[in-house]
């Protein structure tokens, strides 16, 4: 099934994974269950999505490293010691098993993200960052194992050549640490553009003389070039795979998730997120204080028009359900809101739907609330993500009228609008969260805690309520 990319690179040792660092030269050839195919990819996607939103938020490298390492521990550990045991279902697996999973998930996502120029570019960027983080974090023996596992096509510089250029090499790299002569390798300068751009390398006739300590630059560049080419090749060969009806939906789903910039656990969360019961009459107050813009908008149009269309009802109803509104309270809330219709009409036309969404009618399924991915997906709904759907002027007005009482100022808007313009809707939403919760001590870059971005309206609301909790208690006292 992975025949598509077997033509790339040659690794001597492809049965095992000699190092946690992997160039992904050889696609996996063992049998894989559909479930593992999907779950491993989803886990990796979470990590990549966080990397992407970190980049969109201009985090400094150290912070990116920290956030990524944290996410990796949670979803994509490479050694048993890294496995976060508090994370329930992660039963401790062997090192090789973890590396195999890493390897597999990379290739699944390659298939999912090779389809368009835009997806390829974003995937490439996120994967390269992940590789850099891992290379940075790797221990010396791990790095060495990696360096010997693969031919990087560089030429060691002979000693007499080093002597010949000694003066210039020293001027370029500073004096060699005493007694030891530094080792250099040379590669075509085009393989180390980042060093060249900063004039951090010695060039002679098109060759870059790279000291042993700076090899990472070559490696990172090679990783990007290599993956870029592989993605294009995969894209060309993908049509052959499209016949597989089992994989195609999974791959489509994966790339959708990445397009929205997120993949969320909240989609499956249900029941009371906060523990305390919420009454129908509290909703109005909660909406003003804690709801993300999408739900604020729904709430306001419900209050204004005393009505919501079907998809709006469904969306808002499920959101309230997950927020902790019981079925009785929900019926009370909707009945009160739909003040212009008769009891009879309400019972006949709306009550059933409300009970249905709570799993009490029809199929009796416990429907999850819609996540940001679903709200961002283009669909029949008028009530998707406002950051995406609104015209810029309308969005600014909506933001100010909804959040100015929570501390959002007009001066914050340019930054938010810039992220919206770049298509990072969830980043804009996260930024709004940070600004409106600055009074609770949320700082820029912290997101909904630990640097996480908003991926679900309920996550937004729950976190917001959690932050306000001690203060609210005190008021009650």
């Amino acid at each position: 099934m992975f025949k598509s990319s077997t033509t790339f690179g040659q690794v001597k040792n492809h049965a095992a994974f000699p190092s946690p660092l992997n160039f992904y030269d050889i696609p996996p050839t063992s049998e894989v269950s559909i479930e593992e195919f999907e779950t491993s990819a989803l886990d990796r996607l979470r990590v990549l999505a966080e990397i992407e939103s970190s980049a969109a938020r201009n985090r400094p490298w150290d912070e990116i490293k920290e956030v990524t390492t944290k996410q990796c521990k949670k979803y994509l550990p490479l050694s048993p010691s890294q496995v976060d045991t508090s994370n329930s279902d992660a039963n401790v697996k062997s090192e090789m098993e973890l590396r195999r999973r890493d390897h597999l998930s990379h290739f699944v996502l390659r298939l999912a993200f090779c389809r368009s120029e835009d997806l390829r570019r974003r995937f490439l960027q996120a994967e390269s960052t992940l590789f850099r983080v891992r290379y940075d974090m790797a221990l010396k023996p791990e790095r060495d194992a990696f360096l010997t596992s693969r031919d990087f096509n560089w030429i060691p510089v002979e000693d007499d050549e080093v002597k010949k250029f000694a003066g210039q090499l020293e001027a370029a790299y500073g004096p060699a640490p005493d007694s030891t002569t530094r080792k250099y390798v040379k590669v075509k300068w085009t393989r180390v553009p980042d060093l060249v751009e900063k004039r951090k390398v010695f060039l002679k006739a098109g060759w870059a003389y790279v000291p042993g300590g700076e090899l990472s630059s070559i490696i990172f560049q090679e990783f990007e070039d290599h993956l870029g080419k592989a993605l294009e090749m995969t894209a060309r060969l993908l049509p052959r795979l499209d016949e597989d009806t089992r994989l195609l939906p999974i791959l489509n789903n994966l790339s959708q998730g990445f397009l929205a910039g997120i993949s969320s656990e909240w989609a499956t969360a249900s029941g009371s997120a906060t523990g305390s019961e919420i009454k129908a009459e509290m909703v109005n107050d909660l909406a003003r204080k804690h709801f993300p813009l999408c739900m604020r908008t729904l709430h306001e149009s419900l209050q204004r028009d005393n009505h919501l269309k079907h998809f709006g009802r469904l969306q808002y109803g499920l959101f309230l359900k997950v927020l902790g509104l019981s079925i009785e309270e929900a019926i009370a809330f909707w009945r009160k809101s739909f003040s212009r219709i008769t009891d009879d009409k309400f019972n006949k036309e709306y009550k059933y739907n409300i009970r249905h969404s709570y799993g009490l009618e029809g199929k009796r399924a416990n429907y999850p609330a819609k996540s940001c991915v679903q709200l961002l997906a283009p669909g029949p709904s008028d009530y998707g993500c406002p950051y995406r759907n609104y015209a810029p002027e309308n969005l600014q007005t909506a933001l100010l009228s909804s959040y100015s009482h929570l501390g959002l100022r007009a001066s914050d808007l340019p930054e938010i609008m810039a992220t919206v313009k770049a298509g990072h809707y969830h980043v804009a939403c996260t930024r709004v969260f940070e600004i409106t919760h600055a009074s609770c001590g949320v700082t820029k870059g912290e997101g909904t805690g630990g640097g996480e971005s908003v991926t679900h309206p309920n996550q937004y609301a729950a976190r917001s309520m959690e932050l306000h909790k001690p203060k609210d208690d005190m008021v009650i006292d």
């Binding site: 001027a171 004096p175 075509k188 553009p193 060249v196 004039r199 060039l203 006739a205």
Partner: protein, 451 residues
């Protein structure tokens, strides 16, 4: 607007005659194509025409040089520009999938424009240029040329006067053509010392390592130091005016010294730049930081100031050599590096002058000569010879490469039809060919026999 007298804009008739009789299409073709038979280097190359009334036609492409010439004569543009080689013929762009039409190859190009030196040159400003300010260009050309050759290993450099106040560089080495945008950006970063465009020429993008400049900058400085006195101090007198010497004083780290110098220079307004410069030097031994400051001054005034955007992207268009500058009527001629210091922009032939030369010939000769070699008899000839020499170097390179990789059929065709030197090359390379060209060896040995 300009100081020179002959600011008559070339009329449409003048341009048409120029294209019909003088423009060296063949030389341009050879230079772009690297071979005699049209390859994708030519057929998938973008040409953009600027017509009368600022109409701009992009994405033209031609399957051979005659088509190009016909179209140029038909449209009679005021000038035309050369773009990259795309993944398909640019004229078919509209029929392509959006992502499938991409620039793939492009000469590495540079543009140095005199306007970037406006803040420091004292002789002219704006669109004007004279021999005095050409010194800046000449210094920049030398630094760039040696840097690109020594550090990056490029050899096929063609310098072209832009027709008014600047100079273009086209690098046609295979490796240079293949550079990606990212790599071009890196290369520009390496070469950029003076940041911040036209106005703020004061921020230098260099970091010293233990007081030592990076090797490429040190090399450039060693060279620029030689010309500095002549160009900046004597010719341009950059520090003569108060404005000028204030710039110099700003660079001096020791404020006491700066104060002393300022009062000294204020009292003697006539003091020449050279004297002022040596005033700074008197205390040199005492201040190590002063020396680096003065080094910075040298770089700031004479290091090449590049128009970086031109070089960074493959799809940037650049005016074709031998076009006529619409404002001055001067032809954009290739330059020989050896004559760069003595080059006088005002001595470049204008289109009017060339047509006058043609008229003079016609009076003395019969008119039924072949039209396209008319330039042989005009003052355009030496410049076209530079281009032809450059193009034949490029073609030689390709021929060697082809022989090496064993495209024998191609070589034979060249030998018999076009290349008088081919016999020699074939004999030299034949043992090589033997190794991997079994099926065609018979053919090859027969050819040798024939020769």
């Amino acid at each position: 607007m300009s100081s020179s007298g002959e600011q008559e804009k070339p009329s449409q008739e003048v341009m048409l005659t120029f294209y019909r009789r003088l423009y060296p299409f063949k030389s341009i073709f050879h230079w772009l194509n690297h071979e005699h038979a049209p390859t994708r280097l030519f057929t998938q190359r973008e040409f953009a025409f600027t017509l009368q009334g600022d109409v701009y036609l992009r994405y033209n492409s031609f399957s051979n040089v005659d088509e190009l010439k016909n179209q140029v004569c038909h449209l009679n543009p005021t000038r035309f520009e050369i773009g990259p080689v795309y993944s398909a013929r640019p004229k078919d762009k509209k029929t392509m999938r959006p992502g499938a039409f991409q620039p793939i190859l492009r000469e590495l190009v540079f543009d140095i424009d005199m306007t970037d030196y406006d803040s420091i040159r004292t002789c002219c400003s704006g669109a004007d240029i004279c021999r005095k300010c050409w010194g800046f260009i000449a210094a920049a050309v030398r630094v760039l040329d040696s840097g690109l050759r020594n550090e990056f290993g490029y050899q096929k450099l063609l310098w072209v006067y832009s027709g008014r106040r600047g100079i273009h560089l086209w690098i046609s080495d295979k490796e240079a053509m293949e550079l990606t945008d990212q790599q071009r950006k890196a290369l520009v970063g390496w070469l950029t010392v003076i940041q911040g465009g036209k106005e703020s020429g004061r921020i230098l993008n260099i970091s010293r390592n233990n007081g030592k400049l990076p090797p490429p900058i040190q090399d450039a400085l060693d060279f620029l130091r030689l010309g500095f006195v002549d160009l900046i101090l004597r010719t341009q007198e950059c520090f003569k005016s108060e404005e000028g010497y204030e710039e110099l004083l700003k660079a001096i780290p020791d404020s006491n010294l700066a104060k002393t110098l300022r009062s000294k220079w204020e009292s003697k307004p006539g003091r020449s730049s050279e004297d002022k410069w040596s005033d700074c030097f008197k205390d040199m031994s005492a201040h190590k930081t002063l020396r680096t400051a003065l080094e910075d001054i040298i770089l700031q005034y004479t290091y090449p100031r590049l128009d970086a955007e031109v070089s960074k992207h493959r799809n940037h268009l650049l005016k074709a050599p031998f076009c006529v500058h619409p404002a001055t009527g001067r032809v954009c001629v290739p330059l020989d590096l050896e004559m760069i210091e003595n080059f006088d922009p005002k001595a470049v032939p204008t289109v009017f002058q060339l047509l006058a030369e043609l008229d003079a010939i016609q009076k003395t000769e019969d008119q039924d000569m072949e039209l396209h070699s008319d330039w042989e008899k005009t003052s355009l000839k030496p410049y076209i010879n530079i281009m032809d020499k450059h193009a034949s170097d490029l073609m030689q390179e390709v021929r060697k490469e082809k022989l090496r990789t064993g495209e024998l059929a191609f070589c034979l065709e060249n030998i018999f039809s076009l290349n008088p030197l081919g016999r020699h090359i074939l004999v030299i390379y034949l043992p090589d060919l033997n190794l991997f060209m079994d099926p065609v060896i018979d053919l090859a040995s027969r050819c040798v026999f024939l020769l």
